[in-house]
Symmetry: C2
Subunit: 228 residues, 2 copies
């Protein structure tokens, strides 16, 4: 199965700017992409196309630099396609030419696991949506991509299920916590630090001084703090 | 399999007080409990013990009133035990006397599905934790309850996995988005309104005038609003 991973590095993750500098946000975006690639390589997916808004050669160099031996061990075709168009236009341009089933996976879900990817791609429905919080679509399996179009942003999870119905396609929701955790805000980093011990993303956050802080006064409050 | 569902009604869900009155919060807590019971009744679970801080007869009456025919259709033993002790003390008192495997499930996860419950109870590990956001434990499967003790609040997900290790028990994390959505804050209600069309909880929120509002200016902002 082929997977398309849209990736934007320049100006990535602006809502993390209270905690991370712009250089750190770009580095962190690369680490999250690495974690997604590692999870894909452990799954049934055998081919990845990274749809990048930046230079292809530079991104491949950076992936080689960060992943080093892990990249060789992956045994998965990775290709970078450069596309400067807005997300929906870029994706719809690509899937219009796909004759085989395709999985679209966001690059900011570093906790995603091979098991969850496999459970998703093994489903039999025409369209399978893996939701993020607030109605987003963090992964989307499309059996007949040339007959479908995507619509990200807003309540895209509902939008994709509605489109499936309009196209007379069967659909399902894939129920995965680790796929639902897309990293946009400081509170999302809490999840990476709690569950991501094995990830490039958590190691990077630790390296730049981010750590969990549990408020002793409150029974439930857990936050991310930064050593000055 | 037996399931224990701790339930607190009086003063429930105080962090929703900007949107719901105290009477509405108590009503909503009851609706969420009903959704959890419905999901359990569709799963392999055949026995539920509600561990309540309030009167048993009154709660059973209210469940009958809200669930009406659904309750009879459940075909599941439901018992209410009153226990005024703090959550951990109450639960540890109960599981110390359990000789059979037990599932502890929070009452504020109205999106939980029978499929996810079954996938959880069919796992082979001694301890299975289903995390909520920020390190909580929304469901906990314990094979040998009399040899374990629970510790809710804070990073309980990590705490329960650590305790399993200390007890030489095997453990796993159950990866479910719908189980991860516990309802504490206004933002959590967004998930109920997006995914919970079939639930008592979403119907109740609709009845009292709550609805989703997608900000046209922002590509991603979705909130819950209330008709005045």
């Amino acid at each position: 199965m082929k997977t398309i991973v849209p990736f934007k590095r320049v100006g990535a993750k602006s809502r993390l700017s209270d905690l991370l500098t712009s250089v750190e946000r770009e580095e962190f975006a690369l680490r999250m992409l690495c974690d997604v690639l590692i999870a894909l390589s452990g799954s049934l997916v055998d081919e990845v196309e990274i749809l990048s808004t930046g230079g292809a050669e530079e991104l491949m160099d950076d992936l080689r630099g960060t992943l080093s031996e892990d990249l060789a061990l992956m045994g998965m075709d990775i290709e970078v396609m450069v596309d400067m168009k807005p997300l929906n236009d870029a994706l719809n341009g690509v899937i219009a030419r796909c004759e085989q089933p395709v999985l679209i996976m966001m690059a900011d879900i570093p906790l995603v696991t091979p098991e969850s990817i496999n459970a998703m791609v093994e489903r039999s429905e025409d369209i399978v949506v893996s939701p993020g919080r607030k109605g987003g679509t963090n992964a989307l399996l499309i059996r007949k991509p040339s007959l479908f179009s995507v619509s990200y942003y807003g309540l895209s999870c509902i939008e994709h299920l509605n489109r499936a119905r309009e196209c007379n396609m069967t659909s399902a929701i894939h129920d995965s916590f680790f796929m639902s955790v897309d990293i946009d805000e400081a509170d999302d980093l809490v999840e990476v630090l709690i569950h991501g011990e094995h990830t490039y993303s958590a190691r990077y956050l630790n390296d730049i001084g981010l750590h969990l802080h549990a408020d002793k006064e409150s029974k439930t409050r857990v936050e991310v703090e930064r050593w000055i």
